[in-house]
């Protein structure tokens, strides 16, 4: 049985054509996969993560969203965002449109820096450019600031373009490779859980679909009892397959976010979100 599967996947390899397809055909195939797999789920619903696939949880989630616990953090974030640095400048000076309504512009490939810049990364670049210490990347102030910036951007759509720059494509492919590579003692890739097994149970939990994953971060997880960033979640996912996580906002995780966000390109930003 195992041999047959291997043989089949080998054959598929032969007929499936070029392996490093361009990002847009990757995205179309990705979206198509979920549309075929879950024909009853509207494409727009994927921004709600697992709640797109789980009606009973969706009902509870709506009740939580009635007055979501992240609202307190959004307020904190607004205050932090508007607090000037020691040099008198503020976050607003670092971002387009004063930082309001621009969440969907991240991540992007920065040609000058030669690397992917995510929103949280940009927040710390801003701090450092103004002589401030960088913030921790997984929770706390950076999550609150990111939540506030996302909150002001709700409903805006990701309109990512991957520039015609071999470095940008390399970053995209690095993220893609990370996404599809099995790792950890449990030998799972991101895709094993969130593509192949999306909507199925892992013990008591339903696995969320990868499509729409990056739209709603940062999230307030009831499990955390606080906000956390997308990279905090990467960290948790890696640990759950018993793989040692890589540094938050390190090159690999930023590239992963770049790939993931491209897969959800065209969808609405709706962060911050509430999750179990």
């Amino acid at each position: 049985m195992k041999r047959v599967s291997l043989l089949v996947s080998g054959l598929m390899l032969l007929v499936s054509g070029p392996l490093l397809a361009d990002p847009e055909s990757d995205r179309l195939a990705f979206v198509n996969y979920f549309e075929e797999r879950f024909p009853d789920v509207e494409l727009e619903a994927y921004v709600n993560g697992v709640y797109a696939l789980d009606e009973a949880s969706y009902e509870q989630w709506l009740q939580i969203e009635e007055f979501p616990p992240y609202e307190l953090a959004v307020e904190d974030g607004e205050e932090l965002f508007n607090t000037p640095f020691a040099n008198g400048k503020s976050y607003a000076d670092c971002f387009d449109n004063g930082g309001i309504g621009i969440r969907q512009n991240y991540p992007y490939f920065d040609a000058d820096r030669g690397e992917v810049v995510t929103l949280e990364y940009a927040i710390n670049l801003c701090r450092e450019a103004n002589g401030e210490e960088p913030l921790g990347y997984k929770k706390g102030a950076i999550a609150s600031i990111s939540a506030y910036m996302a909150y002001t951007s709700r409903g805006n759509r990701f309109e990512m373009t991957i520039p015609d720059d071999p470095r940008a494509l390399a970053a995209y492919n690095n993220g893609k490779q990370y996404f599809y590579s099995k790792r950890g003692q449990l030998n799972f890739s991101c895709a094993d859980c969130h593509v192949n097994n999306a909507g199925m149970h892992i013990r008591a939990d339903k696995l969320s679909p990868s499509l729409g994953h990056p739209t709603h971060f940062p999230v307030y997880r009831s499990k955390w009892g606080e906000l956390g960033t997308l990279h905090r979640r990467f960290d948790g996912c890696n640990k759950q397959v018993r793989a040692e996580p890589l540094p938050a906002q390190g090159e690999d995780y930023r590239d992963l976010e770049y790939f993931l966000t491209y897969m959800s390109n065209g969808m609405e930003t709706n962060g911050p979100g509430a999750r179990k």
Partner: protein, 104 residues
């Protein structure tokens, strides 16, 4: 200091539907600190008072099993635009917080 209570009220047919979210850890006293391994002392809101134009219309008594950052929704009768709804809490350590909202 800004209030740690967020409040929203919706007036419909003379009934105000009031929803609040209160910033509070609601520690049960049975949880251990992940780093030190020591028990985190119980710390939770015990009483929530809801006032309508200065008159107490509801008192809620809570134990530590109300969730962290508690959510509380209730309905006030005979309400009209301009009425003031006040929500305040006291916790087991004597700390308090309150917020007022004028109905529209």
């Amino acid at each position: 200091m800004a209030s740690g209570i967020r409040i929203r009220a919706k007036l419909e047919d003379g009934v105000a539907e009031v929803k609040c979210l209160m910033k509070h850890d609601m520690e049960t006293g049975t949880r251990k600190d992940a780093k030190t391994g020591e028990l985190i002392p119980a710390h939770y809101i015990t009483d929530v008072t809801c006032e309508h134009n200065g008159k107490v219309v509801m008192t809620a008594h809570w134990g530590p099993a109300v969730s962290k950052n508690p959510y509380f929704a209730f309905k006030v009768k005979d309400a009209k635009p301009g009425d003031v709804i006040k929500v305040s809490w006291v916790d087991n350590e004597g700390a308090t917080d309150s917020v007022e909202e004028t109905l529209e």
